[in-house]
Amino acid sequence: MNTQSDNPMLRRFLRTFGFALLSLLPALAQANQVNLSINLATPVMEAEQSHRAFIKVSLEGFKQQDKQARIPANVAIVLDKSGSMGGDKIKYAREAAIMAIKRLDERDIVSVVSYDSKVQVVVPATQVRNHQAIYNAIRNIRANGNTALFAGVSKGANELRKFLSRNKVNRVILMSDGLANVGPQSASELGELGASLAKEGISVTTIGLGLGYNEDLMTRLAGFSDGNHAFVENAEDLASVFQYEFGDVLSVVAQGVNIEIRCRNGVKPIRLLGRESEIIGNRVTTRLNQLYSEQEKFVILEVEVPKQQAETELELVAVNVSYNNLFTQNQESLTGQSVARFSRSQQEVKAARNDKALEAAVEQIANEFSRDAIEARDSGDLEGAKKILQDSASYLGSQAQSLSSPRLQEQKEEALKDADALETEQDWNKQRKELKARQYKRATQQTY
């Protein structure tokens, strides 16, 4: 009885505490500061029992106050002009690049690299002053030859390096419609390159056009360098994808975001959902290359929480985030922590549940399932893959119901559709690209 009467009070206290904590952070910060929030999906857990808990660490870029006061961009557009790009494709690609460059102005640096069997620097890194000259150079690109993707990205990155600055948005935008067949061509090699570029503050956005490209390679390259990835089936849609991408590029507010999560008090990290991370002992680190204005990026950390006595509180993780604020041009850091309470009351546990955080966690878990399904399908285990997706769908379904989340419901429908689509052999290539792109978007909270 006692506990029951205490509970509402405590809950109230916790709520106010949590609210204060949450509202304090943005209040403490100036307007131009990244917003860090740490949410435990289950802030109250059952006592005397070990748990799997999900912690959502999310960062939100502050609002760009003035469109004019944006961060200068340093962009290298790397276009595939191999033989398969012939005809309308290359035309659309050229126009898409030109349309995108129209959004840039004198503050920005642009370079255009095209590749077939060899690499041509069409527009060396230059300030965007003479738009027409750049457009003319781009319009001269003709499709022909093989696909030296690795060299193309290398040269693109090299153009960026001419004006590389931590205070610019440094980005390679790679558009390809084919398999890399000159130079390194494996996903791991491109991933290694992406990781290396990320260390310099360069991210690579990969746009796969049509059904011929290697989606593993493209997502790996984007993933390791924290760029975007998109699957464009029809060349007509390239322009809009380029527009989205440039929208992102021009709304970057912070770069070089390092997230360090330390697990405390015997809490064990299991995995970080969605992003590449490094887990050493109880320390989990990951890195975002940039934060966009008013976009939330988050990671979900799955941890194992040891048994605890009832009515105790436990600090699960301490989070340390450092980033380069492009507006103040300062290296800034944020800290936060996540505390869980333990109770015997199921009701309390349920009431305290953070639906938003849990929804995000479920979304990411299902996303992992989807990845597993692709792996299974790749290894020829069609039934296994189907089962994974169906399990994922039922998991999503039950969670959607309990959280009454239409988003998860939608994802469930998707998973069921994917499970059906697995069987049709001829569509698998397209299906796989779509899946990969969708997984990538979910994992990185890409906006388009």
Binding site: S114, S117, N140, S154, K155, G183, E189, E192, I280, G281
Partner: protein
């Protein structure tokens, strides 16, 4: 004669053409060889300079690593604690992993007794064998190229010369003072002089995925710090050292040398290529150049189309030859036309003379006939008339001989000499001629002394012999009139079964100088002006005589009289083949 002229002209045309063609071809071939050699030198130096650029890249990396390692050592006070090393790895774009071995060969990083991240685990797994053998990092000799620092400064000087010769860009050449080669122990940071003491080197390690480049150095405490490069990043950087291809527009492509260079990795795969567009992958590289350590198993291939410059060289040669050939041909044609016109004119003249001679012959015969008849009719005592008739007769005889000479000459030219053999005695024939000439010569106070010993009956052409002797004697009459005597002697001898007859006619006139003796027989040649002054003659007599003699399988020569005699005179020796029996009818044609 008519056929020979075009032949000679053809030779005149072809000979210089052939010579020129031969020299031209030789020259072109030489030129080609020189060009090929120059090209290969050029290519070699181009490839070497690329290799050099790669070496520069490695050297810069090495410098950076040395500084990083030193900073790390200083920062961690030689402990190399895990966080610091991980931070360095996290910040360095080119490094995939770092390892630290203690002096005793124990692994200090990645740590042995602490949890590792995935990358570190993979790395440890991959390099287990390498890290187990720390002597690799202490025994410089194991490396394929002595990249390790041998701490003697003179070594660095001598080792660097070769690489230094390559051209370096301005900014690089400043560094090349130190970076002559990667092995150079002279480390660039001038502020820190003690750096050269630490041993270091590059290792190319075959990991599962390919060649893994590792730079190691020993710090002052004896720890070995190794930097494993991110191989994708390394390739990316190397690609960025290399030029990109020209943008597809025509102008740039035209400027571009028509060649392609490919970077081939340790597994023989194409890593990067630049230069010419659209190459047939099957063609063989013009040149292949291996790269230096630590890219030892990589190489560069140079591809090029056929040398374009050479074709224009050949074209030039052919054009020159054609031009020369047409020029020479035109010249030869003009010459030939001129020549044949002259021939025609000469022929017309000869014909004219022939016809005139023919026309003269008949009236002359009549003159001689009637003179003889008149001589017989006339009384012997009419001395004056007799003498007059004698003069008319001898002059008519002379004229008919002249005409006979002209006609024979032209016949000879036209159809060659034909010899009609008849059985007779040579001496009789000579005696007849002597008899005929005695009165003529006596008017010039010349006397013939004839000693005949050719009395065998044999076959010869008496008409030809008469004509020869006529010519010889009339020469005596013309040129040797102050010599008083003309000696004629004849003899016969048998040489290899056939009878040869010899007749020597010698006078005591001014003689023939040795230099003139060869030309004497040429048609229309007349001896020196001193000799021929005031004497008439056609200049065909001796030539005709010799031609006849040769047609008779004999010869007519001028004998050189010994100098001792005061009055030498001229002496002609005629030799004839005069067979006793005629086995077959011998008829020789004499050309020219």
């Amino acid at each position: 004669m008519k056929r020979r002229t075009p032949l000679i002209l053809a030779v005149i045309i072809t000979l210089p053409l052939l010579l020129l063609a031969w020299f031209g071809v030789r020259f072109q071939q030489d030129q080609q060889q020189v060009a090929a050699h120059q090209l290969s030198n050029l290519v070699t130096s181009q490839l070497q300079s690329i290799d050099q650029q790669f070496q520069e890249h490695f050297f810069l990396l090495q410098q950076r690593f040395i500084l990083q390692a030193r900073a790390l050592q200083r920062e961690t006070e030689g402990q190399y604690n895990v966080e610091s090393v991980r931070r360095v790895i996290g910040q360095s774009a080119v490094v995939k992993q770092i390892f630290v071995l203690s002096k005793a060969g124990d692994r200090r990083f990645p740590p042995q007794h602490q949890p590792l991240n995935q990358q570190e685990q993979d790395f440890v797994e991959l390099t287990r064998n390498l890290l187990k053998a720390p002597e690799r990092f202490t025994m410089p000799v194991l490396d394929p190229i002595p990249l390790q620092s041998v701490t003697s400064p003179r070594y660095s000087g001598s080792g660097g010369d070769e690489l230094q010769s390559a051209q370096l860009s301005d900014s690089v050449s400043k560094k090349s003072r130190y970076s002559a080669d990667v092995s150079s122990p002279a480390i660039s940071q001038p502020a820190e002089e003690r750096t050269s003491e630490s041993p270091h080197g590059w290792i190319a390690w075959y990991a599962e995925t390919g060649l893994q480049q590792i730079f190691w150095l020993q710090d002052s405490d004896g720890n070995t710090v190794g930097f494993a490069l991110n191989s994708s990043r390394l390739l990316s950087d190397l690609i960025n050292v290399l030029p990109s291809s020209a943008v597809g527009s025509d102008i740039a492509a035209a400027e571009e040398v028509d060649s392609e260079i490919r970077l081939i990795n340790d597994q023989g795969e194409l890593s990067y290529s630049w230069g010419r567009e659209g190459n047939d992958p099957a063609i063989k590289p013009l040149q292949t150049s291996p790269l230096s350590h630590p890219l030892a198993s990589w190489h560069l291939n140079y591809y090029a189309a056929e040398l374009p410059a050479v074709i224009t060289g050949w074209l030039g040669l052919v054009a020159l030859l054609l031009f020369l050939a047409t020029g020479l041909s035109a010249l030869a044609y003009l010459l030939y036309r001129e020549h044949s016109r002259e021939l025609r004119v000469a022929e017309q003249r000869v014909n004219f003379v022939n016809q005139v001679s023919h026309e003269l012959k008949t009236p002359l015969t009549n003159v001689r006939l009637y003179t003889e008849m008149l001589e017989q009719e006339l009384a012997d005592d009419d001395v004056i008339a007799q003498r007059y008739l004698g003069v008319i007769g001898s002059e008519a005889g002379r004229l008919s001989r002249l005409i006979e000479n002209v006609l024979s000459f032209s016949r000879l030219k036209r159809e060659g000499a034909s010899i009609r053999y008849q059985q007779s005695v040579v001496d009789i024939c000579i005696a007849q001629v002597v008899e005929l000439f005695t009165p003529i010569l006596s008017t010039r106070n010349l006397r013939i002394r004839f000693t005949g010993q050719a009395s065998h009956l044999c076959h010869f052409d008496s008409e030809a012999l008469e004509q020869i002797l006529n010519n010889l004697l009339s020469n005596c009459e013309k040129y040797a009139s102050d010599g008083q005597f003309v000696n004629i002697s004849s003899w016969q001898s048998e040489v290899s079964g056939t009878l040869n007859s010899y007749i020597r006619v010698s006078d005591f006139g001014p003689g023939v100088p040795a230099s003139d003796s060869a030309k004497l027989f040429e048609p229309f040649y007349r001896g020196s002006e001193k000799l021929t002054e005031g004497v008439s003659g056609t200049g065909i007599g001796l030539g005709l005589a010799r031609d006849l003699a040769r047609a008779h399988q004999g010869d007519l020569i001028v004998e050189q009289v010994p100098q001792t005699e005061v009055k030498s005179g001229a002496s002609f020796l005629l030799s004839l083949v005069t067979p006793v029996t005629l086995p077959t009818r011998v008829a020789t044609k004499f050309d020219d």
